[in-house]
Amino acid sequence: MITLKNVSKSYVQGSKALADVDLHIDKGEFVFVVGASGSGKTTFIKLLLKEIDPTSGSIIINDQQLERMPRRKIPKYRRGVGVVFQDFRLLKDRNVYENVAFAQRVIEKPTKVIKKRVPEVLTLVGLAEKYRSFPKELSGGEQQRVALARAIVNRPEILLADEPTGNLDPQNAVEIMKLLEEINSRGTTVVVVTHNREIVNSMRKRVVRLKKGVIISDEKEGVYVED
């Protein structure tokens, strides 16, 4: 599903954000990638989204070698990868329904399909009632649920979550993680990048620890301990 072979990434300044990373994630897995800031988590997400290319090494996702992918194929690739961010990144001038529908509109789904699918995912994330609300009328947890709905509305095979609980209180954080588990149980591979220790330790999933761009541990049912 996701394979990184000897992946290194250096930015212009010279210091390596990732150094010789080898990692394999199977289809349907739930993986935490953890580490302090500067450990290379954000670089990892950006590489998987093909926002940046590795300096060396190879990234293979769904049998596609990312660093060799031509630009014009990027949109189609990204349709198979859902993503949520710490800051939600909702469109402030559109309501909940429109924010989720937007993801389908963008990939040119027929209106008929959109009208059926959007209420389904809003029900899944528990926001069916609030489909007319605007982002500013929602709590942080609700906004992140809208973002999640938008990320999964096109049924991606992989869901990337970049610090999804970073802006949430503990109770909302737990809610979001439950949703991610639910999505994972339906067959989507979920990769969560976080430094939220309580969450990681309470869920007992696979934990990949990064430190200064290097994987220092990779455990099934792992925990996130002090570096």
Partner: protein, 306 residues
């Protein structure tokens, strides 16, 4: 591309314009000024060409004879000219008396005393102005006809309408040159303003564009609303001046023909509004859309790299 995508993009295009009112209005206004001037010069230029043609064919060639030439020789010249049936459409003989009558009617109408004073007891001040008026089918044949008539015995002078048409041609060229320069400047300003409008639109929607790209929007989908925004601005900017010009033109024609009846007499008046606008409308709209397209495409290439 789906119809719903096009619909969505058009809606977004209008939304961009709405969000960005001041810039959009400035763009539309400059575009309108550009197309207005273009239309104005276009109308003037087409009318000049029209007048030119009318003057050329209506005034024709005037053939004067040697002083004291007898009537028989004059008739011989006439027959010679009439004989060139392939070129000559019509030949009229105007005697000296008729020429005087027509002249005095024209310039001393209702003022017999002045006419008499001008005559100054001569028999006919235009005694040597008996002439043939020769009209041709095709204005291009006129020069060779004139050359031929000049070689005939007894012909003193052949006058062509060239003077008038040359003057008009010069004026026409001058107007065209000036208008092309002004239009080019306005064109550049229009493209610049549309480009600015779209740059602001892209800046305002940076986040949205980033999200679109994460979700897997193609470049085409991301760019289409901005291209349509340019086209919409171009269309509105062209439609407004065209409508204004349409009514203005009708008013102007009525006014000018009223004031300068000579135009009506000599040049068959001015072109009717429909005859000008059947060309001006499509050209104006294409120009508007073209400016919009160019303005938006340059901007998108600059600010929305793949």
């Amino acid at each position: 591309m789906r119809i719903s995508t096009l619909g969505y993009s058009i809606k977004q295009g209008f939304k961009n314009i709405g969000r960005n009112k001041l810039f959009s209005i400035a763009s539309v206004a400059t575009m309108a000024a550009c197309i207005f001037l273009f239309g104005l010069f276009f109308s003037i230029a087409t009318n000049f060409s029209y007048m030119l043609k009318n003057i050329e064919t209506n005034v024709g060639v005037t053939v004067f004879f040697d002083e004291g030439l007898d009537q028989a020789s004059i008739e011989m010249i006439g027959q010679e000219i009439v004989g060139m049936t392939e070129i000559v459409k019509e030949v009229n003989y105007v005697s000296a008396d008729e020429a005087w009558e027509s002249f005095s009617n024209k310039y001393f109408e209702g003022n017999e005393a002045a006419a008499e004073g001008f005559k100054n007891n001569q028999d006919n001040p235009l005694a040597n102005s008996a002439h043939y008026e020769v009209f041709v089918y095709d204005i291009d044949e006129q020069d060779s006809l004139v050359e031929h008539i000049k070689t005939l015995d007894g012909v003193r002078k052949v006058e062509q309408s060239q003077q008038a048409s040359n003057t008009l041609s010069t004026v026409n060229r001058l107007i065209s040159t000036v208008s092309i320069i002004i239009i080019l400047i306005l064109l550049a300003v229009s493209i610049f303003l549309i480009s600015n409008t779209i740059t602001v639109g892209i800046a305002v929607r940076r986040e949205e564009i980033a999200i679109m790209k994460y979700i897997g929007a193609t470049n085409f989908f991301v760019r289409l609303p901005f291209v349509l925004e340019g086209i919409i601005i171009g269309l509105i900017g062209a439609a407004i001046p065209l409508v204004v010009l349409y009514f203005l033109y009708q008013q102007a024609v009525t006014y000018i023909l009223d004031r300068f009846s000579v135009l009506q007499d000599f040049m068959n008046g001015l072109l009717p509004v429909n005859q000008v606008f059947v060309w001006l409308v499509p050209i104006g709209l294409i120009l508007g859309v073209g400016i919009g397209l160019v303005g938006s495409i340059i901007t998108i290439r600059k600010h929305l790299k793949a």
